[in-house]
């Protein structure tokens, strides 16, 4: 079922990062600088993290992003999610969005796995009722069993990852934003998680995927953007784009 009520529209979006030599000037300097004729320009360097991004996505779009480290792939995802507002231009997003950017954000080491399910779900914008009905499903999927009531600081990193993955992926979103999600854990769980991701990909209206695994991108996407130094330099068929990226940019 492709819905036309779900979309991402980005028009002429620019994102600038400012790098402060002195990130937050002491009060003294701030007052003193008022009396200086010109502020020290060298104190701040600006660079364009994203340059003039235009993108229009509708239901059915499976978009892969490829580019070198620092090309702006994750930044673009974070702009869509709303973490970084664009300096110029507009970003419109409509639809229930699940960002799988960093799993386990907001985990509290002192709290039990069960309590963290609720806390983490709440941060993803879910209600108590919804979490209550998903609780058992999440615990079952994570296979944590009786460990679920233990503070998560006693968890191994594999258990930690399993819990985070289970919470993040339990609901089918309308828009799925994925930044290099690798399920951790034993072979059995990785297998299960891969199937779960496949199901999410099929059930979501729009998918945006950042990955350095170009084969995965070709397999899963029907459109690929090539990002380079904050710009979309090529856009089109996955196979062609990945070839372009590997030949023109990586090489």
């Amino acid at each position: 079922m492709i819905s036309d009520k779900v979309y991402i529209e980005i028009e002429n979006a620019w994102l600038k990062f400012r790098i402060y030599k002195n990130r937050s000037p002491a009060l003294k300097e701030a007052i003193l600088s008022r009396f200086k004729p010109k502020p020290d320009i060298a104190e701040i360097t600006e660079f364009d993290a994203l340059k003039n991004i235009n993108l229009s996505l509708r239901g059915g779009d499976r978009v892969g992003l490829v580019g070198l480290n620092g090309a702006g792939k994750s930044t673009l995802l974070k702009m869509i999610v709303g973490i970084y507002p664009p300096k110029y231009g507009n970003v419109h997003v409509r639809g229930k969005l699940t960002p799988l950017i960093e799993l386990g954000t907001g985990f509290d080491a002192e709290l039990s796995g069960r309590e963290n399910i609720f806390l983490n779900g709440a941060l993803l914008g879910r209600s108590y009722k919804q979490m209550k009905s998903l609780e058992q499903e999440i615990i079952d999927f994570s296979e944590l069993g009786e460990f679920i009531d233990l503070p998560i600081k006693y968890y191994s990193s594999g258990m930690h990852g399993r819990l985070a993955f289970s919470i993040g992926t339990i609901v089918d979103p309308e828009i799925l934003i994925v930044d290099e999600i690798f399920a951790t854990g034993d072979a059995h769980f990785v297998n299960k998680a891969t199937n779960r991701m496949k199901a999410l990909f099929t059930n979501s209206q729009i998918v945006m995927l950042v990955s350095h695994d170009t084969q995965k991108i070709v397999d899963l996407c029907n459109r690929v953007l090539v990002l380079h130094k904050g710009e979309v330099i090529n856009d089109g068929n996955p196979k062609e784009m990945v070839d372009f990226y590997l030949k023109e940019i990586v090489a």
Partner: protein, 296 residues
């Protein structure tokens, strides 16, 4: 597929323009939003996070007393110790009746701790939330709100427990206590406004959190918390009335200590201060909302 082609041609057309040129061409409109719309949007965004808000508050309360034998009783014992020490010292100093003076002190100390903890905790709330803010989208208002709400719950608990103690000491129950929720709401609004304003300012000037601490420490002695106002020479009285904190503490004194209904001006002055501070907090948020993340 048609859409994507349109897009790529669009990119080629404007790829060489600088951002400033794009604005000049009116392709990109700078965002403008009225204050009322901004408030509406902020509250709407928060309404989606109601459950997150309660979980954060409950968890920070739990964490505070986790693994301690007395648990929540600490929130009662902490102010109680201060109160006992102060009552002993100052009733000797001012020759007051310790029972009455004890009630006087606790009606000062508890609202003051609520204020102090909200403001000092709140001022670091955004700086401390960097890890969250850079990983998930959460409205900035959320973090000061969590701190102030946590302190509010703590305040209400310790206030009601100490009220029982005060009853045992011989405090008279009065109908004025029914207005207590309103007084708490006014102080809550003031604390939220201050916490929000300082949280944002601290992102820009990190020194501010230390300055705030020092100033509040000084204010503790400028507000008649541990001494009665009548020991102040009348010619200096106006200095005390210039102090905004005085009016909030005074409200609680009238309701609990004196057992009177506060008069119109006793309500209006703190409410006006609270509204002004809230307005300042929200205006600053509106101005800096999209910049804060780049300064963390």
């Amino acid at each position: 597929m048609v859409l994507s082609q349109e897009n790529s041609s669009n990119i080629n057309a404007s790829a060489n323009l600088s951002a400033e040129e794009l604005i000049a061409q009116n392709l990109v409109k700078p965002k403008s939003e009225s204050f009322i719309n901004f408030l509406k949007r902020s509250l709407f965004e928060l309404s989606n996070l109601k459950f997150a808000l309660t979980s954060f508050v409950v968890n920070s309360l739990r964490r505070r007393y986790r693994r301690s034998v007395l648990g929540f009783a600490w929130s009662l014992l902490n102010p109680l110790t201060t109160m006992v020490v102060m009552t002993t010292v100052f009733s000797l100093l001012f020759h007051n009746n310790p029972k009455e003076f004890g009630i006087y002190i606790f009606t000062g100390i508890l609202p003051w701790s609520f204020l102090l903890d909200s403001i000092t905790g709140g001022s670091l709330s955004l700086v401390d939330a960097e890890g969250f803010l850079k990983k998930v989208y959460i409205p900035k208002l959320f973090f000061p709100l969590v701190i102030v709400s946590t302190e509010a719950v703590n305040f209400i608990f310790s206030l009601s427990s100490l009220m029982f103690l005060a009853l045992a000491l011989g405090m008279h129950l009065s109908f004025s206590l029914l207005t207590l929720p309103l007084a708490i709401a006014i102080l809550y609004a003031f604390n939220l406004g201050s916490a929000l304003f300082l949280a944002i300012s601290t992102v820009y000037f990190r020194d501010l959190t230390h300055i705030t601490r020092q100033l509040l420490q000084a204010f503790f002695y400028l507000v008649p918390i541990c001494y009665p106002l009548n020991v102040v020479p009348p010619k200096y009285l106006f200095l005390f009335k210039l102090n905004p904190f005085y009016y909030f503490i005074n409200l609680f004194r009238i309701i609990i200590c004196d057992g009177h209904f506060p008069q119109a001006k006793d309500w209006l002055i703190p409410s006006a201060i609270a509204v002004i501070v809230l307005f300042m907090g929200f205006s600053l948020l509106k101005k800096t909302e999209s910049d804060i993340i780049f300064r963390l």
